[in-house]
Chain length 384, copies 4
């Protein structure tokens, strides 16, 4: 047993970033992981500033991810980082991940996994060949009630799945924030940083991933209406997509960043032959089960009837709400448990392996490529 916290090095997440802070908080929430090194910015001084604010040893705050990986590798095993967490914009996911893997470091990387599908496939090969772990932070799969939903579908409680509705309406890009100096908006609407997709890459992939995760199905074809609603924007900011799945189920995916006034209420509904379920982030600790012949049931995080897999991902008693950060932390916790098992040479439990990985990343990039292609096509269906 390795009797210590796992050591994390962060790439990106310097001043002004949002998701970096979320990753740090989520990683360290359960006391199993500690941040010890970072290349928080390509501006060396900004990186140092971040390091100071995080109380890091200045020797382990670097000016680039190359430096971080190379220098950490030279440190004694009992000191150097165990893994890197990559929280840069999309165009800076692949290369640090590649370098980390090539140097024997496991990887957590924000979604979408890479800039394009080609990079994703290269990363997949690297992961598979190295035997290292890669965790992709599709946050919403970390919620206990999302895991419960998946569990119930797997158990066959809904019968054969027929319909999947998933939606992610946001409103924050309803006006051209990218022209007003908003850093988050700027890179997300910039094709050189975000990739070929805007909205579909940023939140459409979350929706597609959630649908596949819970239903256990794979999208096999899609028909998309992809829009750029705000004039002058270079990438899509909205879209509606008809879906076909590998068991002949069909579905609808909605993602928008111009649904004025909406926050982040990603929502999933799945219907099978014998029942339906509904989950949404606004009431994240509630899973609604609908039946044709008996009253609707409300499952709750930590409440009666919750499965072992949901409880494994729960920290507080029912009614003390767990939120986004706890969901995020569940990804890190399961990744950490698996990493610890690998370091200890033991076999991880099934429940620990439940975090999004490189395959989800490849599927996400495939979704992006196909949904954008479909948006430009006059043909109805585009196959994945």
């Amino acid at each position: 047993m390795i009797n210590r916290k796992l050591r994390m090095g962060m790439i990106g997440g310097g001043p002004g970033a949002f998701i970096g802070a979320v990753h740090r908080l989520a990683a360290q929430m359960d006391g199993q992981i500690t941040l010890v090194a970072g290349a928080f910015s390509s501006h060396a001084e900004k990186s140092r500033q971040a390091g100071r604010e995080l109380f890091l040893n200045p020797d382990r705050v670097y000016g680039s991810y190359t430096e971080l990986i190379e220098r950490e590798k030279t440190l004694p095993e009992e000191e150097r980082i165990d893994f890197v967490s990559i929280v840069t914009p999309n165009h800076l996911h692949y290369d640090p991940a590649r370098l980390a893997l090539e140097n024997g470091f496991d990887v957590v990387v924000d979604k979408p996994m890479t800039f394009d599908l080609a990079e994703a496939r290269k990363l997949q090969a690297l992961v598979e060949n190295s035997g290292l772990l890669l965790c992709l932070t599709h946050t919403y799969t970390g919620y206990p009630m999302v895991k419960e939903a998946r569990h119930l579908v797997r158990e066959g409680r809904l019968g054969k799945i027929r319909k999947v509705y998933v939606e992610y309406p946001q409103g924050w890009l309803a006006s051209p924030l990218e022209k007003e100096g908003n850093k988050q908006a700027s890179w997300r609407t910039d094709p050189t940083k975000s990739g070929m997709a805007g909205c579909m890459g940023d939140i459409g992939t979350h929706a597609a991933n959630l649908a596949e995760y819970v239903s256990g199905l794979k999208i096999t074809a899609l028909c998309a209406d992809i829009e750029t609603v705000v004039p002058g924007r270079k990438l899509d900011d909205d879209g509606g997509v008809l879906l076909r799945f590998d068991n002949q189920a069909t579905g609808v995916l909605i993602a928008s960043q111009v649904a004025t006034g909406e926050e982040n209420c990603i929502k999933l509904r799945v219907y099978g032959e014998s029942g339906g379920l509904e989950w949404k982030q606004d009431e994240a600790n509630t899973l609604v089960l609908k039946w044709p012949d008996r009253p609707t049931e409300i499952l709750r995080t930590g409440g009666p009837g919750a499965s072992a897999v949901a409880l494994h991902n729960t920290r507080t008693p029912a009614g003390h709400p767990e939120g986004y950060l706890e969901a995020f932390a569940n990804l890190y916790r399961n990744f950490g448990l698996c990493l610890r098992a690998r370091l200890e040479g033991t076999t991880p439990q099934e429940a620990w392996k439940d975090f999004p990985g490189v395959e989800d990343g490849v599927r996400g990039m495939l979704f992006i490529e196909k949904v954008i292609a479909s948006g430009k096509s006059d043909q109805k269906w585009t196959e994945l």
Copy 2:
């Protein structure tokens, strides 16, 4: 001023029917209309039985709609019906409506208006030539908060409309009820009675009508995935549709009768440049207004901030919920107010004219024809 209740004759709505009872209740709710005659069934005895249960004069209970219209026409003006209400299955809408109009009777007819588009256009010509009124019972437009929503969009409160999401998920046909003697299911899944569409005709038209009613826009093109999910069923029982509107807005329409466990929660969301709104039947007395820069607002039936048009369609103080029957009654009330005005030779108020009419009926049949065509097409967009 005509100092009496308006007199209604009903066609259909005999024993075992559901919607006939709803029409009777809605029509008579406000004490402005009274049922005095009926051809409730083509079985003369069943029609008589219905008449007895409704305490009608047996002389005015008929064995067919032809008989009803012809015999009523021979009655003295101070006695005979003012209008007919047609609550038969779809294939029996057109001919009674035609006969009524040709004989000078105004018409209320359940939706969809006719069996097919050709009939709808003939009916439109008849209405326009006769100067008579036709009310099509798209119930959901009768809710006070739906009218409020439409009012706010018209006033420009949301800015230019960009997105429209409308959905009508039902679960009652998730199993083949039509094979188990369920009368409602039987005719709705029978192409000889329902027309070319099942789900899309029954509830898809409601959704499309609601979207156009509130947004003030017209659907110009659509791309549909139309499914028959339950094996052996002859008509569609499910569909997802991408929408384009005449102001370049886009949208998504979902209608399903196999969303297991769902009731009748038709829901509409409309987003403009400056705000968004949300209404759903489950919380019918609430209209949610979402803003990018200030707190979400909750408008309530009868509550502060409600417009004159909403109040015109409201019966009770805020917090005493109005429901489906009151919404239905609002259609009859406005129809009745206009009919009374016509009989009195006065000009109806603007708010009274707010009930769905023959044009909505034609658009509904057009929607059905095109959405089914799109479902069969490999081409992405089908224009309306």
Copy 3:
């Protein structure tokens, strides 16, 4: 079988009244009752005006309730009213009810039943001696899901009842509307018309009645803090009450008319040894069942699992919301079914007898007297 609608005469409910219109609508909703006569106002011309607007025969529109009852009594049996509906302010409930009963007419009367407890007891004696029916319109007991709640408690589904919380927060009297010419506010805050209580009589009695109706228990003692919050007001406009019930259960009752911004969301929670339930008017078609050892269940009006008694009081399929007017109509319908049975000499079904009667009225007046007395007492508990 009496093959006709029941005939109603209304006392009160003239121009400007609110509850009169509700009674007319509720009474006639199901086509079993028809308004044929009225003394709508003590101003003869106002009464006539109301009669005209309601399309009544002018011969049957009277200038006083005395006239109404005496003249109707002289009409032939096949023409005269079957019952009166009394919708005047509280101080004008008793005498018309007395006169009606003494002349053989059944009675529907708005709540609270009388001006004071002494009147209530006299009325009780009259009803019991006459064998006539009296229906007291405690509206909230008419909701299908309230009836379901009562049914489940009776069946023992919650086990022995331990706790009852009931609340009725309103905000409409948070400012002195009675000084601004508001007719509803004026009589309700006037001790010569309302009786010894304001808020406690108007809505506290609804709350107490609902608690006893669903729990099947009787309040045996109470401890009240009764407040007059708005300066200058003569009657209470707010109160909190601790309750003791006859099975040793305890509870809390809240009623306020100065809970600024609140509408009419009367809410009841009942907890037993093995489960709890919750119902509130804002989501009137939902009954929440809470269990210690399994998921919360949601029963819905018309939905799966609803009992026969709930279905008897339901008009529409699940998801088509029924509201306040339908709940009100359920009182009239059950009263009407029992009245019809009496006229026909048959035995009413159990489910028909489920409407509030003279005993509820006496208990309501007892509650008022005791809750006001407790409010003035330094002693903790006041027994009923």
Copy 4:
């Protein structure tokens, strides 16, 4: 500036405890505090086991709080703990807190602050004389929307406060869990560990604290019905309390641990002359504002219209729900910011001082003493 994390030593929170883990997680969430020492159990081996699982240096894992405080004091300043966090049952709050304060360590202590009022007053004197900080973990005051509520009341947005309703219904003690080996239930129902109150000490104090925190008022008198519902239990498990406040406002407090099926939905409603507000833990990121003359408003954590004080206590963008642990962490964060300021000799910002302290602790113990006394009294009002 002290460029390091603050160092925490924990007292209690060993194997099987619930709240200890919550404290550790909350304290360390924001990367400002680190656990370095602990006396997790009075069983030395259990304490060591906890230390190992938390990756602590075994030298700093102690067998008693006396040992912890005495030994830490001997460590060099740059190494020793800055403060202790006391997470033991109630009877073990006072003495460790006393010892810590006497030895110059700041204190975080779980609620209720002490075993009885006398201890609370002694602790208050110690805190005031020492100039050290004491943070009492009334978690619910840590929610951003609770802070927003308090802010709006302070700003006068609701006008003069008239009514306060607060409730905390739980169901977990509806059966005698304490007889089934449940550790949480055992000490909470044991008067030698919990103090004179059960339910009222455990959750009644939370409710009272929340009411005073948001309203800015002080309870001056109360009238309580205190019940022991489950047979054989030694302390109260339920109660209803009428409240009077120092500005003449009144209110109602409900706390129960036998409300079968309820989780932890503490809920607060406050009504003033010009508006009302509502907050509940189940929808913790929502604050409902109700107005007499305009639509209800929904404020959201991180959403438009949120005040600076709410934003200071918010970590994620609107719609990414923050939960119980983040609320808890806000207490630690503000405490930590103030402690850091003290260590640095700077003046803390106003927003940092917003955490419950020793005065809240004294008021809590006073509430317990009086509410239990009132429960036993025949007199209506008991003054605080």
